[in-house]
């Protein structure tokens, strides 16, 4: 049973972007960027890029949208884009998040992809504004060599452009790339280039025309493990008796340089810093507070190496896979826990109930390639609808659990390429009559009653044939 349900606002969004398209072409050349600074953080396997753009409107008409451009190779790895703008003056500044939507432009050179930033206030001619853009790339550090032995350290390639790809003219720009250690094997020089400590500085470059591109390749050491969850299925089961049961099934892989040859336990135990430096030894999961009955197991049983720390604000579960994960090694496991229902289930104004829960993966510093969130509603609930802050694939399923007759409705949401910053909340609305809560206890009670009645009847009826 798969009934697609439409995410609220999806239609509106397509319409909006279409509308936009028509009116973007003219202000494209009237905007220019007076100053751009880009800081690329390549210390972990999720590459974080902080981009500060000072945008000026040199045209005559006010405009309220700014375009960001990405090369097609990077767009595939792009997990999220966030834009903030500072508001207020001096000390009273606050950061305001702006809407960003992917956009298609017909005359994009070399298949460049665009994101449109919607400014809160239109930028009048001659005005300027400063945008803080944060975007994350996953799977962008390519291990080179692709296979390493146990005692070797992990070297990676990072490819980008020394110049920021932009549909606008950029007057002045600088890029900084931060590497996890001082050990940089090589990097492309686009003068002026400077390498100091753990930072490589490209620029400043002056007056570059739109779509300037200058490919660079940086080869450096990155010994952080690359935990990649290839598939994560989160199942959230609501019980109106007061419990929210969460079950998460992970397929974890170390996405770094593949392990080659021998695994020696002697070396691994006696020289932990030199041997298997990039191996994945433990992971940290941040769970909601007041978590209870936590378990950590896999297909063949419980895994005893985990620790749970709880306080009033959060719970932290530190888990170790059964064996240290070297590059290319896999592990599958399940984490399950219960949560008090009142922390997550609320009643909305229109007499419906809604579940408010985090969407993403609770493991820190982990990329999720494919995430499926299943919300199992109690038996007898109707009209489910989900509100998710980003586009997801949705459908409905039916699940049979303990003592179910008609089955429980399951809202299934799927999303690809997810990073921890996207652990935002989603809501599932549904209607539920509390009388349904009594169905199962009544069923059990009547079953026992019938059993006893049958026993009494059996004892009082003479079934023998002979008299």
């Amino acid at each position: 049973m798969e009934v697609p349900i439409r995410a609220t606002g999806l239609l509106g969004f397509t319409f909006f972007s279409l509308l936009f398209f028509v009116c973007t072409s003219s202000p494209l050349h009237s905007l220019f960027i007076s100053n751009a600074e880009r800081r690329i953080d390549a210390t972990s396997h999720i590459v974080k890029v902080y981009l500060t753009l000072k945008v000026e409107n040199a045209g005559s008409t006010p405009t309220s949208e700014v375009l960001l451009a990405f090369p097609p190779t990077q767009v595939d790895h792009l997990a999220t884009v966030e834009v903030l703008v500072t508001k207020g003056k001096r000390k009273k500044t606050t950061l305001v998040r702006l809407d960003v939507k992917p956009t298609e432009l017909p005359d994009a050179p070399d298949g460049a992809k665009y994101f449109t930033i919607f400014l809160a206030n239109p930028l009048n001619s001659g005005e300027s504004t400063t945008l803080e853009v944060l975007y994350l790339f996953t799977h962008s550090l390519e291990p080179f060599p692709a296979e390493i032995g146990q005692s070797e350290s992990q070297l990676v390639h990072y490819r980008d452009s020394a110049l920021i790809l932009s549909p606008y003219h950029i007057k002045q720009q600088t890029s900084f790339i931060k590497t996890p250690s001082r050990k940089v094997e090589s990097f492309t020089r686009v003068e002026p280039t400077n390498h100091a400590g753990t930072e490589i500085k490209y620029g400043p470059y002056e007056d570059r025309p739109p779509y300037s591109f200058s490919p660079i390749l940086i080869h450096f050491e990155n010994n952080s493990p690359f935990p990649v969850v290839e598939e994560l299925v989160r199942e959230v089961e609501i019980s109106h008796w007061g419990n929210l049961q969460v079950t998460e099934q992970y397929t974890l892989v170390h996405g770094g340089a593949r392990h080659k040859g021998v695994f020696s336990r002697v070396d691994f135990q006696s020289r932990p810093t030199l041997s298997g430096a990039s191996s994945l030894r433990h992971l940290l999961a941040r769970l909601p507070p007041r978590v209870h009955s936590v378990y950590y197991r896999d297909e063949i049983g419980n895994i005893s190496s985990s620790h749970l720390r709880t306080d009033s604000r959060k719970s932290e579960l530190e888990i170790e896979p059964r064996y240290p994960l070297f590059g290319g090694w896999k592990a599958t496991f399940v984490i399950g826990y219960g949560l008090p229902l009142q922390d997550f289930l609320f009643e909305s104004s229109d007499d419906r109930r809604y579940l408010n829960f985090t969407f993403g993966c609770p493991l820190l510093e982990t990329v999720v390639d494919k995430l499926t969130v299943k919300v199992v509603l109690p038996e007898g609930s109707k009209d489910p609808s989900a509100v998710v802050p980003f586009p997801v694939d949705q459908h409905l399923e039916t699940k049979y659990s303990y003592l179910d007759v008609v089955g429980r409705t399951v809202v299934v949401m799927e999303k690809k390429n997810l990073v921890p910053v996207q652990n935002s909340h989603f809501q599932v609305y549904y209607t539920f009559k509390p009388i349904f809560m009594l169905a199962e206890p009544l069923m059990l009670a009547s079953a026992f009653f019938l059993f006893f009645v049958a026993c009494v009847a059996y004892l009082h009826i003479d079934l023998s044939i002979r008299k």
Binding site: R265, I300, L403, V405
Partner: protein, 721 residues
């Protein structure tokens, strides 16, 4: 007001007041319910202390097949050819197992799911044995009731619920054939005794079906099919032949045989193999007996009958022995198997079949383990036999024979203590029940005497009547009370002993090892699962793993990889080949391994943790089994003056054979214990003799965190340019 309120209450009490018979029934049913629950919960130590998991070795195969059965259905299971074991031979699983256990578990699973209990199949498998143990207590009650009285039945139920001899094979997680088979065994016996006592066709039909279930569940059904004919023979000899016996045995044998032949693993063995011939012989003997009885009835002349008897018996014996001889010679009737021989002659396996002798549970039983498993039952058993002989009936003869034969087998093999346990419990229950009953009867009659005395007259006459009573009676009464307390003390000691044994000895899953740490905290060694899970996740799906056969089932079930040999030791040559590879030098072993397409070699090594049942300690069996088939392997090459050692004084062949190298590879660099040189083997308490081990054709692929399991990868052959 108060009086008015009191009236209905007292009325209510009166109306609730039960008759003595009803009270007795209520007490009996509640005792049985409590015993039922007790038998279940006393087996849950391992679940509470570790987790809900499958234990040991064989249960992993059963679990894997059950999983297959629930996922693919019965017909696929019946026709399953397993490519993952006995590479490259494979195994016809459907035809080489007793499907009773798996079908039972799958059925329970289906029923639970039908009732919408969404349990996992693993939980069902883990709890199957305790569930059947609970059912066994009920059967024991009814059996006891049949052979003695309800009191003996209740005591038998209680004794068997906690008896360590049975618990050892039926704790939660020990998902093995014996778990359901003991239930089936006792149930078949009970139904058969019931059939003999009543002469009813219905009961003997039921016992045939009980036998069918037993055959489907465990190879131990051979015990039933030999004990029952023996029992019938004894009844014939002692002149207890009756129509009841004739009906019960013939119906049970014929139907039971036809049903048993439906099990693929048994098939025509049931009429062709030597182990089943006794039943068939007794069956024909019964017909001759019946025929003679009929003729005797028809002929009034005793002389004529005597002559007829002589001729018939000679003819029958001659025809029978000729048929048997011809069958044996033509090979139509297969001779006894090695396992059967080793039961009759305990020294047989040691000399002829090392693979049977190498299993620790096939060793002859030590006195201590009798004491451990039976405790006071060991003393109550002869007492019970005495009571049985005092009140001989068909039923008591049966239990006596069951007790004596199974006790003999329990002495031959440790694992057969299990078969003896129900008989020992039943006979001991008779002893306990009869003793306690005698004592209480003594006490009660005494009380009655006092009571009647007191009712007769005043306090002065009471004293005089007391004096008139038998002088020895007060002493007898005190003695009875003392004896009752003694019995109570012994039985409570038994209960505490059973609980202690269950919790200490029989509740360890043996997959997960627990030890006490330096600060008294519990340390868990989960190395087996670490290694198996590594195999499952990080090796190619078609990789072949070579290990000693003990770990075969676990590797296929948990590691999901193909193995060369496993615990179903049906092909001795294949196992000997692995044994030969393990005991050869590396360059000889590589040839064997390449010919078997081996990708990984797995060894179990306890030198770091002091885990003593590892491959080095099992190694001599590999040498013996390998040498039994390949005479190039000679046991003396691995010994020094008949002594098995791994230190500097070890035999050179020992120090350089593959097993030694794989276990101790790079162990020489390892400091295991403070104040000891590197390479100190904690399991054997010596410093190893060869610290500089180089591997040429293999490389270390994985070693678990406590070194218990080490996996090596066979390197591909070098390029020849």
């Amino acid at each position: 007001m108060a009086a008015v309120a009191n009236m209905p209450v007292s009325d209510l009490l009166k109306s609730f007041k039960l008759k003595t018979k009803q009270q007795e029934l209520l007490i009996r049913v509640s005792i049985l319910c409590l015993v039922y629950i007790l038998a279940f919960i006393t087996r849950l130590f391992s679940v509470l202390r570790y987790e809900s998991m499958i234990h040991e070795f064989d249960p992993y195969f059963n679990y894997r097949t059950t999983l297959y059965l629930t996922q693919n259905g019965f017909y696929d299971f019946w026709n399953w050819f397993d490519y993952e074991s006995w590479y490259p031979l494979g195994r016809i699983v459907g035809g080489t197992l007793y499907p009773g256990l798996m079908v039972t578990a799958a059925l329970i699973y289906r029923i639970l799911h039908f009732l919408r209990f969404a349990v996992h199949i693993r939980e069902v498998c883990v709890l199957t044995a305790p569930f059947f143990a609970s059912n066994t207590t009920l059967v024991a009650y009814f059996f006891g009731k049949e052979i003695w009285d309800t009191g003996a039945g209740l005591v038998a139920a209680i004794l068997i619920a906690v008896c360590p001899g049975y618990i050892s094979r039926s704790v939660a997680g020990s998902y093995d054939n014996e778990g359901v088979a003991i239930f089936a065994l006792l149930f078949t016996f009970y139904l058969f005794v019931k059939a003999i006592n009543t002469g009813s066709l219905a009961w003997s039909l039921a016992s045939a079906f009980g036998y069918f279930y037993m055959v489907s569940a465990w190879g131990g059904y051979v015990f039933i099919i030999n004990l029952i004919p023996l029992y019938v023979l004894v009844l014939l000899i002692t002149g207890r032949y009756s129509m009841r016996l004739y009906v019960a045995y013939n119906c049970m044998y014929v139907l039971g045989m036809l049903l048993a032949m439906q099990i693929r693993f048994v098939g025509f063995q049931h009429v062709q193999s030597g182990e089943h011939m006794a039943a068939m012989g007794v069956f024909f003997l019964m017909q001759v007996f019946y025929f003679l009885d009929w003729v005797k009835h028809m002929l009034s002349d005793t002389k004529l009958f005597q002559a007829f008897l002589r001729i018939t018996v000679t003819c029958a014996v001659a025809v029978g022995s000729i048929a048997l001889g011809l069958g044996m010679l033509s090979g139509y009737i297969s001779p006894w198997t090695g396992r059967f021989y080793s039961l009759l002659d305990p020294t047989y396996a040691k000399d002829h079949i090392p693979i049977i002798a190498s299993v620790s549970e096939h060793q002859p039983t030590a006195w201590s383990s009798f004491m451990f498993d039976f405790h006071i039952l060991l003393f109550l058993f002869p007492a019970g036999l005495y009571f049985c002989f005092k009140r001989l009936s068909d039923a008591t003869i049966f239990i006596v024979m069951y007790g004596l034969t199974s006790m003999y087998f329990a002495g031959v093999m440790v694992r057969l203590i299990l078969v003896a346990t129900p008989a020992v419990c039943l006979i001991s229950a008779i002893a306990v029940s009869a003793t306690v009953k005698n004592l209480t009867v003594l006490l009660r009659s005494k009380n009655k005497g006092v009571q009647t005395g007191s009712t007769k007259g005043s306090s002065s006459s009471k004293a005089s009547s007391k004096a008139l009573l038998d002088q020895s009676q007060p002493f007898q009464k005190n003695g009875a009370i003392a004896l009752l307390f003694g019995a109570f003390y012994l039985l409570s000691k038994y209960a505490t002993h059973c609980t202690w044994v269950t919790s200490e000895a029989y509740s360890s899953p043996s997959i997960v090892l627990a030890a006490r740490g330096a600060h008294g905290s519990r340390v868990i060694f989960d190395d087996y699962r670490e290694a198996y899970f590594w195999l499952r996740q990080n090796t190619p799906p078609d990789a072949k793993v070579m290990s000693w056969w003990d770990y075969g089932y676990q590797i296929t079930a948990m590691g999901n990889r193909t193995v060369i040999v496993d615990n179903n030791t049906w092909n001795n040559t294949h196992i000997a080949t692995v044994g030969r590879a393990m005991s050869s030098y590396e360059d000889e072993a590589i040839e064997i391994m390449r010919s078997l397409d081996v990708d990984y070699v797995l060894v179990v090594f306890g030198g770091v943790t002091g885990y003593s049942s590892d491959d080095i300690n099992k190694f001599l069996w590999m040498v013996r089994i390998g040498g039994g088939v390949f005479p190039v392997i000679k046991e003396p090459d691995y010994l020094v003056n008949g002594e098995y050692r791994v230190d500097k004084g070890a035999a050179p062949k020992m120090l350089n054979c593959l097993m030694y190298k794989l276990c101790y590879y790079r162990f020489g660099e390892m400091l295991t214990e403070y104040g000891k040189p590197p390479g100190y083997d904690r399991a054997r308490g010596v410093e190893i003799g060869n610290k500089d081990i180089k591997l040429e054709h293999l490389e270390e692929a994985f070693t678990t965190s406590n070194w218990i399991v080490r996996i090596y990868k066979v390197k591909p052959p070098n390029n020849r340019w």
